[in-house]
Amino acid sequence: MTTMQHLTDDDLVLHYYGELDSAAETQATTHLSACESCHRNYVRLQRVMAAIDSAPVPAVADAFERTVWARLQPSLSPRRGWLSWFVLSPANLGWAAAVLVLVAGAFYAGRMTPHQHPNDAQTATASQIREGVLLVDLNEHLDRSQTMLVELVNADPNSDALDLTAEREHAGELLAANRLYRQTATNAGDVALSQLLDELERLLVEVSASPDQLPAEDLERVQQRVAAKDLLFKVRVVSSAVKERQKQQTRSRTGVGQSS
């Protein structure tokens, strides 16, 4: 770049951000003071950059903080049972993230190739056992989610405000596990599972962030959302697929159902 050469658009960007080396910077400054065309181009760039500075900030829902806290709290507070072990320990979180890939993979494999059995599956391997444990966990998660959905769907919106205290607690517990499953499914490229868990998570967030007494209109809105998304049906389908996968794994391990 010399003072006689025009500055490219990219040169101007580097100049704008002060990313040119000192010699190039001096040349650019000198050129801009002498060249009307480049100067105009630089002013246009500056105007665009100034406009970008005023970029809109995305709108955030009024209940944003409450929702964030509802999702976050289960991962922070002391817990009991397998879920607490699953959620609290950073080491176990790492392990969970790694092996949950197997769950998603196993789910996918089970769904896509329901009658396929590995030839060398006569003996249970460590990974099969681990996969089996995880399938049990995922299955339990889906069963508990189903129970909650059934309660919500069957609640009577014409009665007095629904007491959601218990459901709120359950939803809070389910959230942390659901989030892990969803992230893992996403990372494993299992779009269908990821989308289902995302829909489920949004509902769990809503329930866990709801007041103790849910007004009738809010309940109706939740019920409509469950119906519109076919959420209960989808959870049942996935739950069935997971159970089927568990059966396959059991047959594979014991040799039942395999040709000799």
């Binding site: 960007v13 760039l45 995305p58 806290w69 976050l72 709290q73 990372n187």
Partner: protein
């Protein structure tokens, strides 16, 4: 609710979850805005918010009490955003320049009011167009550009953060600026 961040941090360190909740309530929106700018996705931004506060909670014992909590949290949020972008590179949203040219032309055709660029800059319509233009950037272009433009990171630092070569980072930024200029210059052209 503790009056200051320092007081809330001290209580949260001792296991007071309500104190940590106060920190979430004070800083949650700022973290979301940053994450949204970085990722360009509401869902990803929500994930970043969760991850940021989880990391902050776990790292509270290591937080220097003399430091500014907001600044520290901001740094964690940037890193969480980068981690997410690197972990999900497949979710590209970038669009061809031809789309942007059409977009720019459409903007130009709507700008027949004769209003000055300064006035237009202030309008919500312009802000809407900027938001639209941002969505035309690919994830890497967006991340590199946001880190350079809003976070003031050098190209060298951005390269390290995103795991890109310096030239690749430069070109991501160049492409991002080019796209933004294509979309926005009709608004900001000389009066």
């Amino acid at each position: 609710m503790p009056q200051t961040d320092a007081a809330a941090v001290a209580l949260a360190r001792d296991g007071d979850s309500e104190a940590f909740r106060a920190l979430v309530e004070r800083h949650g929106r700022a973290v979301y805005r940053l994450a949204y700018r970085m990722t360009g996705s509401a869902q990803d931004a929500e994930d970043v918010v969760q991850e940021t506060f989880l990391k902050a909670y776990r790292q509270l014992p290591r937080f220097e009490s003399r430091a500014n909590f907001g600044t520290w949290l901001h740094r964690i949020a940037v890193n969480c955003s980068i981690d997410l972008i690197r972990a999900r590179p497949h979710r590209e949203t970038g669009q061809a320049d031809s789309d942007l040219e059409q977009f720019g032309a459409a903007v130009e055709s709507t700008d027949a009011t004769g209003a000055s660029p300064e006035r237009l800059m202030l309008s919500t319509e312009v802000q809407h167009r900027i938001g639209e233009a941002m969505t035309k950037l690919s994830r890497m272009e967006r991340a590199a550009f946001m880190l350079r433009h809003f976070e003031g990171r050098s190209i060298e630092e951005i390269s390290q953060s995103l795991g890109l070569k310096t030239n690749a980072t430069k070109h991501s930024i160049f492409r991002a600026v080019r796209k933004m200029r294509t979309a926005l210059e009709p608004f900001v052209a000389d009066a």
